[in-house]
Amino acid sequence: MSTADNPIAVLVELRDGAVARPTLEALTLARSLGTPVAVWLGTEPDADAVAQLGEFGAAEVRVAAIGAEARYPAKAAAAIAAATEDSSLLLVVSTFLNKEIVTRLAVTTGAGVVVDAAGVEFVDGEVEAFQTVFAATWNVRTRIAGKAIVGVRPNTTTASAAEVPGAASIVPISVQLPATRETITAVEPVAPIEGVPLAEAPVVVSGGRGTGGDYALVTELAELLGGAVGASRDATDEGWISHEHMVGQTGTTVTPALYVACGISGAVHHRGGMQASGTIVAINMDPDAPIFEICDFGVVGSLFDVLPQAIEAVKAHRAN
């Protein structure tokens, strides 16, 4: 370990064994701060994954081959601690599981933690993270004293390959895993939602109660724009669409370049999960719906009239 100058550790997020896109974003961010070193937990990475991490600048890939033990926050934290002794800053993707892992890690290392960040920089040698809070109505900048951990939201940095690729040399990490009181007795895999995962999608088209349960048009627009389908809690509570699609404070937080809300009133719980999106479009029959207060472009009208016409017009434009 520790050939790297100012190593910035990045915890690799895996999806079906492959590197997830937010990790490439985090590596891109890490390059602006120092020398990225990737931290890999679980089963050994394959050659493609290592090559990709190198392409995005990883000087090293530190592998703690702890298999499924990585599902235990305290064990994952111990492995990361062993892999990042020389690094003063760790970046992770801000997910519920990673928040638990970094909390355990911080309890043992004394690091300060900011999660759900939109970016990080060094100011006078100290880490500063920025966030939007209170349903994206405030910008906040937080300084972390000493060792720092920052959870970054997907879609807040544009991933780009490094001009000079990193060596991505494999460094095996050996770690004594702590015993835990908890036992995971069953792991039932969730079939991944088709297409781009909601949290990472560059475009999200969401349908609410106003769809009446018919997601055909919402799905068609999402597919046309290369995006994912989202929903309000009322829609998932009705059973119209599965819980994994729910956007909001208790569902998934999304920050796509484009968010299209169809038949969603814009309750504060929903807004908290999407208000930091790049461009917001709303389609709603009620001119007084709160969603119109926060949109860039709004259509007062029925989604059943507006969406088919918009879909046709986009297709016609593309055909030209």
Binding site: W138, V140, R181, E182, T185, T250, G272, I294, A310, R318
Partner: protein, 262 residues
């Protein structure tokens, strides 16, 4: 069954929330118990009701107005309320807050052991969702977080948690810290009798000295994170709203094309 529920005082989501000198502006008239802590209180009440015996404690750490959070828990049916209020706690980070909560929980537990501590999945202001893990680590109790189902019996508790890639079943011995999601249950409404009783109920007030916590280890001074700048975001500029009179879809498409989004 003896259960303690942690409840946080948070600003009303509908109000104009803001920062003053790097911390959240709080006023009693536009704040209450964190909505997601209603699910935690509900879980505790249901477990005690099912066991046919037991007690529910509500605990909050916060300034003078935070008492509203434990009063709300009393209205819902909690038996005891504890409010840790000490100027030295102000500005604590997650770890400082966890240390104070843990000290208060130990004080209750040492007198008469608790089976469970139940928390919400997130506080709708800080929204870090880190506190339950920090609390379990601080207490060195079992951690059962993000429960969307919860079963307790036989000296152990079992939860199911929904992560994006898998549903995990996790089991651990008591005492445990359990955080519950809003999928777990539907919180009840306070009933009139309890509302009246909660007004008069005693709320135990503890300071850091009562808990044996050194003030220098918590609060803004000990915080590993400091807000150095907070500013309101400007409203979205150049907003366009059109009313559909037959051309709404075309107008939308034109907007997306012009912005390079289609």
């Amino acid at each position: 069954m003896r259960i303690l529920v942690t409840v946080k005082f948070t600003p009303d989501l509908q109000s104009q929330r803001s920062f003053t000198d790097g911390t959240v502006t709080r006023t009693a008239d536009d704040g209450s118990m964190n909505e997601l802590d209603e699910n935690a209180v509900e879980a505790a009440l249901q477990l005690v009701e099912a066991a046919g015996e037991g007690e529910v404690y509500a605990l909050t750490v916060g300034g003078a107005d935070a008492v509203a959070a434990v009063r709300k828990a009393l209205q819902l049916g909690a038996n005891h309320a504890i409010h840790v209020n000490d100027d030295a706690v102000a500005g604590s980070d997650v770890f400082g807050t966890a240390a104070v909560l843990a000290a208060a929980i130990r004080k209750v537990h040492d007198e008469n052991p608790l089976d469970l501590v139940i928390t919400g999945m997130a506080a709708l202001d800080g929204l870090t969702s880190m506190l339950p893990t920090a609390l379990a680590a601080e207490l060195d109790w079992s951690q059962l977080t993000l429960a969307s189902s919860l079963e307790v019996g036989d000296g152990s508790a079992t939860i199911v948690r929904h992560l994006p890639d898998a549903h995990e079943t996790v089991t651990a011995p008591l005492p445990a810290v359990v955080s519950v999601t809003d999928e777990l249950n539907k919180p009840r409404y306070p009933n009139f009798k309890l509302i009246m009783a909660a007004r008069k109920a005693e709320v135990v007030q503890w300071s850091l000295a009562d808990l044996g916590v050194d003030a220098a280890t918590v609060g803004a001074g000990a915080s590993r994170t400091t807000v150095v700048d907070a500013s309101p975001r400007p409203p979205r500029a150049d907003q366009q709203i059109v009313t559909d009179t037959g051309e709404g879809g075309n107008a939308l498409a034109a907007f997306l094309i012009e912005k390079g989004l289609a």
